[in-house]
């Protein structure tokens, strides 16, 4: 079958690619555009390692088709930092040891950023329920929840 031509924006930059109709956005991002920050942990929408935002909405990119990205705006983990400056969530994850192997980290950072955009002051349990779709097998989540809280406080201009 013929490939589909897609024009989209990733982290603010316009890009184009060709993909077969059944190809996922995750594969298009990783294999055609070189954004390998999003990871495939399951390919079935169960682990959140592939999380990106599509027009501001948090999605599992393994459940979205590449073709659906036409005319959209996509944000990935690669777009979190500005220049050399890390996003407060990224800095907080390093400062608070919220990653061990780090494979879940890109997805969790993207998801946590989407949370803080909607709710700048989430409670522990709001963070836990928001991140319930992002599996981490290493940390037991404890330090992840703390890191998100600390970053949120910093983004609100409070010093923890």
């Amino acid at each position: 079958m013929k490939k589909i031509h897609v024009t989209t924006k990733v982290n603010g930059d316009e890009v184009e690619f060709l993909c077969p109709p059944e190809e996922t956005l995750l594969d298009a991002l990783r294999d055609r555009l070189g954004f390998s920050g999003a990871k495939e942990g399951c390919g079935t929408g169960d682990c959140g390692a592939c999380s990106v935002t599509l027009n501001g909405r948090l999605v599992c990119s393994c459940l979205v088709l590449g073709a659906e990205a036409e005319g959209a705006e996509i944000s990935t983990v690669e777009g979190l930092a500005h220049g050399g400056e890390l996003h407060p969530l990224q800095q907080s994850f390093i400062d608070n040891a919220a990653l061990q192997c780090g494979i879940c980290t890109p997805g969790i950072l993207v998801a946590a950023k989407a949370l803080l955009e909607r709710n700048p002051d989430p409670s522990d349990s709001e963070i836990r329920y928001w991140l319930a779709g992002n599996l981490c097998r290493c940390t037991g989540y404890d330090k992840i929840i703390k890191a998100v809280k600390i970053a949120a406080a910093e983004m609100r201009g409070e010093t923890a």
Partner: protein, 747 residues
């Protein structure tokens, strides 16, 4: 031998919470994991897997697949070398089946094609003629005479004749007169237990990229816990010289023991050899569940006698493990670990391994110990309930200490169990009030820890900073810990050290990252490599000063005269020594090679509070505290991380996780939706208390901390449920229907 050279209060870098060197790469998406590498000309590989739980392979016809445009190579077991070592044959047979498929999902053939779509299409064109055979997946059924035989001729001589041919191994540990011990007891409890197989559940599926050229040289990139082991296995299976195969470990997205062997790597190499192109294979999650190692499932019987004041008089346990279709030794780790926490006069611990039509077991964090200790800690707890005693008091009364002769043979050195139990007793968690339908459970945990073959190089850079080259993949922050120990020993800032993980062509052999060995053994070798470099630096300075080498000492990053008699010289910094090294004899490096022993066992105690919903049988963990002896916590954040992560894996195992097989021998829940690992909203905070009882086998007292933490949650939660709901389960996982049934049956 006591190797401790630095104690509490003498550390400057060790024990602080520095930032890990790979942090920025990992939060920006830059870190390269197994599936992330791309090279020019790369093909996509895929694996054909068995649709049967057990079947004879009569023939494999690959001609149609090869004829498909875009297909560049197809390989089967015939493309591997002839092997003679049993263990190697098992590993190769697991990578590609030989004359039988032994479990559903067992690999049969590999394809390399121009893209994934073509590779998938080609798999459908491979014609395999099978004769299905009867299968068995349950351990007790597999041990019975007359059970379908998974592999014959694999039984060790000491296995009792009443068992089926599937029983491959038997072991026995213990001491004292068990029958006389039971006669002294005021009460004896004997119970049967079952635990389900759990998967390590690393979020990164196995992935590799192999590139072989027609002169026989090859490069292999893969996510593994041990690149040197991958090289040994692959070079044997492909009949290559080790020197011609360079294996590079990618960043690794979790392993927990499951990435200590090979699955797709030899297949990718064989495909690359045949196609003359680089070949990348990435497993799907379904393949990870069906064809990589979960841990064993178990059936056990534990009998313990106790006096009414809480002293254990005798204990006898029987552990029956199945580790899939190939022999494994995990049953023996379980039988050895079972009673480690107790000082017993009379104890006997037996273990059996049985073959079943399930995937080959792989190590999973403290392999074998959680299910054995679950059974023991459950019976100990039931006895404390019977006598109305305090569970921590009873454990303290029977606790193993320094000089205790362990049930598995050795006499313990300095250990931290009593300190850990006392810390749990004093912690506010232990006396906090509980509400309705809530209960508190306690369990001890133990792991042996390991040292092993290790080799480290320390290079002094020309500006006086330092590079450490080590050979163990960093799964949870070990590069930070290694840099910290180098900085500590050299007396320089942490930021002056950079640690890298070498490929197999850049350093001598290092054992796999397992047995919680890296911070201990690589740390020890790093400290010794630094000492080697220090000796050399002192030698250079002695030459400059014209004094004896031993008149120069090293302190806080400076070479100094050892005392007033040595002469009056201005101390020379590491930077000054580095700057003039080309005039004093050339570059300076330190090395150390060792097969490290003295790893020092690690004990932990967990406190778990649960609330059981009597309407649904659902268990919510509401408070959890981990107490563990780390010897010396090099980077406390990552020690806590190991304690928390292991605890949560154990919680998942206790409450949800299990391999579920149908009558057809097919795994029914090969995905994260149905094999449910804990998610953030399932859990409370996991509180941690690090104890530091120095390990005499390490210069800084370090013990491995990675594994012990998965052991206690199984019994801690079962004990908590028994107090919350008034029903004691003898089977894991304690899923809501099982708990509800127990509540209903009780009436």
């Amino acid at each position: 031998m006591n190797k401790i050279t630095r104690e509490k209060g003498q550390f400057k870098v060790v024990g602080t919470r520095v930032k890990r060197p790979d942090g920025i790469d990992k939060v920006t998406g830059r870190a390269q994991y197994g599936a992330d590498l791309v090279v020019p000309g790369m093909l996509t590989g895929a694996i054909l897997r068995s649709p049967h739980a057990h079947a004879t392979i009569n023939s494999i016809d690959t001609s149609e697949a090869l004829a498909l445009p875009g297909v560049k190579a197809v390989v089967t077991r015939a493309d591997f070398a002839a092997l003679d070592d049993d263990e190697m044959i098992d590993i190769a047979d697991n990578c590609l089946a030989r004359d039988k498929v032994l479990y559903h999902g067992h690999a049969v053939a590999g394809v390399a094609a121009k893209d994934a779509q073509t590779a998938r299409k080609a798999l459908k064109l491979i014609k395999v003629d099978y004769t299905p055979l009867p299968h068995v997946t349950d351990v007790d059924a597999a041990m019975k005479p007359g059970a379908p035989v998974v592999q014959s001729g694999r039984q060790e001589e000491n296995v009792q004749p009443e068992h089926s041919e599937n029983v491959t191994g038997y072991c026995e540990f213990g001491h004292g007169d068990v029958e006389a011990g039971f006669a002294k007891a005021d009460h004896i409890i004997e119970r049967d237990f079952k635990t389900a197989a759990a998967h390590q559940g690393y979020i990164e599926p196995h992935a590799c990229l192999a590139s072989m050229t027609n002169d026989g040289k090859a490069d292999l990139w893969c996510c593994t816990q041990g690149q040197f082991n991958v090289r040994s296995l692959c070079s044997a299976i492909l009949d290559m010289e080790a020197s011609q195969l360079r294996v590079t470990a990618s960043e690794i997205g979790g392993g927990f023991g499951g990435k200590t062997t090979v699955f797709i790597e030899p297949v990718a190499l064989a495909l690359s050899r045949k196609s003359g192109r680089p070949v990348k294979i990435v497993m799907t999650r379904d393949e990870v569940f069906r064809a990589t190692g979960p841990t064993v499932s178990s059936s056990s019987t534990v009998k313990i006698g106790m006096t009414k004041d809480g002293r254990i008089t005798a204990a006898h346990a029987k552990f029956r493990y199945q580790g899939g279709a190939f022999p494994c030794a995990t049953y023996s780790f379980g039988a050895q670990a079972a009673f480690a926490a107790y000082d017993l006069e009379a104890v006997k611990s037996e273990g059996w391994n049985a073959l079943t039509n399930r995937p080959k077991e792989a190590a999973y964090r403290a392999p074998g110990a959680p299910m054995a200790i679950y059974a023991v800690e459950s019976v100990v707890d039931e006895l404390t309930q019977h006598f109305g005693l305090d569970p921590l008091e009873v454990r303290l009364k029977n606790a193993a200490r320094e000089n205790t002769k362990a049930a598995y043979g050795p006499t313990f050195d300095q250990i931290g169990l009593v300190a850990t139990l006392e810390a749990a007793q004093k912690h506010p968690h232990y006396s906090a009030p509980l509400g309705e339908n809530q209960g508190r459970g306690v369990s001890c945990g133990f792991w042996f820890n390991f040292g092993g073959n290790t080799c480290v190089t320390m290079n002094l850079n020309d500006d006086g900073t330092v590079g450490i080259t080590e050979g163990n993949p960093d799964i949870g922050g070990s590069r930070a810990s290694i840099s910290m120990m180098a900085a500590e020993e050299l007396g320089i800032p942490y930021s002056d050290v950079r640690t890298i993980i070498a490929d197999t062509s850049s350093l001598g052999h290092n054992d796999v990252t397992d047995g919680s060995r890296v911070t201990f053994a690589v740390g020890l070798a790093t400290i010794e490599a630094a000492r080697d470099a220090i000796r050399k630096m002192c030698g250079r300075v002695a030459k400059i000063w014209g004094i004896d080498e031993d008149a120069v000492i090293w302190e806080d990053g400076y070479a100094k005269p050892s005392g007033p008699n040595a002469g009056d010289f201005e101390p020379m910094s590491i930077k000054e020594i580095a700057a003039i090294s080309s005039n004093t004899g050339g570059p300076i490096a330190g090395h150390y090679e060792v097969n490290a022993d003295g790893a020092g066992v690690s004990f932990g105690v967990h406190l778990a509070d649960v609330e059981v919903d009597p309407e649904t049988g659902y268990t919510q963990v509401i408070r959890y505290t981990v107490f563990q002896d780390a010897g010396k916590a090099v980077h406390p954040d990552y020690v806590e991380g190991q304690m928390q992560g292991g605890a949560v894996q154990g919680i998942g195992w206790a409450l949800n996780e299990e391999y579920i097989y149908g009558e057809d021998g097919v795994l029914q829940n090969a995905g994260f939706l149905d094999y449910r690992v804990p998610v953030a909203s399932d859990l409370p905070e996991i509180d941690t208390v690090i104890l530091e009882i120095p390990n005499p086998g390490h210069p800084y007292g370090v013990r491995g901390v990675g594994e012990t933490s998965i052991v206690p949650p199984l019994a801690a939660l079962s004990n908590a449920v028994s107090r919350a709901a008034g029903v004691r389960l003898h089977e894991l996982p304690m899923s809501p229907p099982k708990i509800l049934k127990a509540i209903t049956d009780r009436g």
